[in-house]
Symmetry: C2
Subunit: 276 residues, 2 copies
Amino acid sequence: MKVRRSNRLVDMTRYLLDHPRELVSLKFFGHRYDSAKSSISEDLSIIRNTVERWGVGRLETLPGASGGARLTPLYSKKNAATVIDELVQAVNDDSRLLPGGYVYLSDLLGRPDILREVGRLIATQYVDQDVDVIMTVETKGIPIAQSVAMYLNRPFVIVRNSSHITEGSTVSVNYVSGSSQRIKKMELSRRTMKEGANVVVVDDFLKGGGTMNGMKSLIQEFGAHLVGMTAFAEGQFDGERLVEDCTSLIKVDAQDGVNRHLSAQPGNYLEKVFKK
Amino acid sequence: MKVRRSNRLVDMTRYLLDHPRELVSLKFFGHRYDSAKSSISEDLSIIRNTVERWGVGRLETLPGASGGARLTPLYSKKNAATVIDELVQAVNDDSRLLPGGYVYLSDLLGRPDILREVGRLIATQYVDQDVDVIMTVETKGIPIAQSVAMYLNRPFVIVRNSSHITEGSTVSVNYVSGSSQRIKKMELSRRTMKEGANVVVVDDFLKGGGTMNGMKSLIQEFGAHLVGMTAFAEGQFDGERLVEDCTSLIKVDAQDGVNRHLSAQPGNYLEKVFKK
C-alpha cells in the first residue's frame, strides 16, 4: 500500500538515523513505501535541507544503479561550540576533585545525553576519513568508544589489562604508564582487529599519555593504521607527554592539597576540527 | 521564520529520537518552528501513526499546560521475534566455542547494529516500569548497559571488580561465583546510585548466576530496588542457579571436549515480555 509523503518522511528519517553513514538504496525506500523513485528523491532533499538547517547532519545522495542516500550525523561548528561549553560547565565543580588530583567523571560518562553529545562530537572529527574500528582501553573509555561507534557506524574494540578466558588468543604489549612510570601490560583479542584496519583511539582522560602510547604500539603489532586519538578530558601534566597530537574536548586543571581547586575549560577540539 | 510541515516532521522525528521517553512540550516545538500548537499536534499524530505502523515506537501526547509529547522507542512482538532470530543466527557458529565451554561474543557486543537491537529489545521489556538506573558489572556487560540506557534515557552504572582511585568512596560486597565457587568482591562508587533507586541489571552471559546475585546484594546495600535482570545469553548450567527470574535473549549450549559443538536458540525473552 502506497505510503504518504508525511509518513515517509518520518520513517525515512528514523531509518536513516538508525543506519548512520550507510548507503541506503532508493530502490529499498521505493519498495518499502510503494512509491516512485522521483518521490523518494524529493523526500531526500527535504531531509537534506532539514538536517543542514539545524546543523545536525549531512545527507549525501549518490546517483546511478548502485546509488542511494547516506545520512552522516555530525555537529555544525556552532552546535559543537555550544556542546563543549555545556561539558565544561558540567565538569567545573570542585566536588569532582578526588585525592591525588584525579577527577570524578563516572556519572557524566554514564549519562545518555552526555554520551550522545560526546559521541557525535568525536564522530564529527573523523567523518571524512576512512575509519574501520574505534579502539579504547577498559573500563572508563568504553562508553566513549561505544558512543563514537554508534555515530560512525563502525565496531569498537576493548583493550584489556589482563588476559580473560573468554577473549580467545590475544596480542599483548608492554607500556610505560606516563604518570606513574610503572611498566604495565595491555592486550587485545586477536580476532577483533584486521591487519591494515584504520583505527581511531579514544579514552576518557589524558595525563602522561602512557595508555594512548600503549594502544599505538598495539596498533603497530596488529599491522593496523592509526587515524587519530581523542580524549574526553586532558589533565595538566608536568613533564613531556608520551603522545603528541591528541585531541581533547575539555581541559581540566585539578589541584589537590592546601589550595584545592578544579577548573575546566575547552580543550583543543574546536581549533583542530574546524580549522579549515 | 515559519518552518514547513515537511521540515518540521523530519526535525521533530530526529529531536524526539534524540530525547527518548522525555516529555517535550508543544510550546517548545511551537517556538522552534514558529508554528501554531494545532499544527504541531497534527504533526505529532502523523509521527504516532508512523512509528506504530512500523512497530518501532510509541508516541504519547499529554494534554494540558504541562503537557507535551513523549516518544518511546520499542519493538513490536513481530520485530522482536525477527531480531531474536538474527541474534541466534549470529551466535550459532562453532568457531565461537572457546576452551572450557566459553563462548566468544566480543565481536557482536562491539557492533553498533547488534547493540542497537539488543538495547531496544531490553528497553522494550522495561518500558512500562519506573527505571532510574541500569546496572552492570565490568567489562563485557558495559556495552549492553549503555545501549539499554540510551533507549530508556536513564544513566547506567558500572560495578567494578577492584577499587579504582578515580571512583572516590565505594560500597563493596562479597559474592560467590556460581560457576567457579570462588569468593570474589565487587564494588560500586557511592555517589553513582541513590537510595530507593529502581534498578535494571544487565549482563552479557548468565551461567551460575553468581555475578547477578552479587549485584542483587549490592542493590540491597544501597537501599535500592531491583526491577529486573536480563542477560544477552544464557548458558547451560549443571546445578542450581543462584538467581531465578532472569530474562535471556538467547540460549547457548556450548560443549567443549571430544564432541565439540555450539548451538544457539531463542531465550525466554519473547514469552516473558509478550505474554500479556
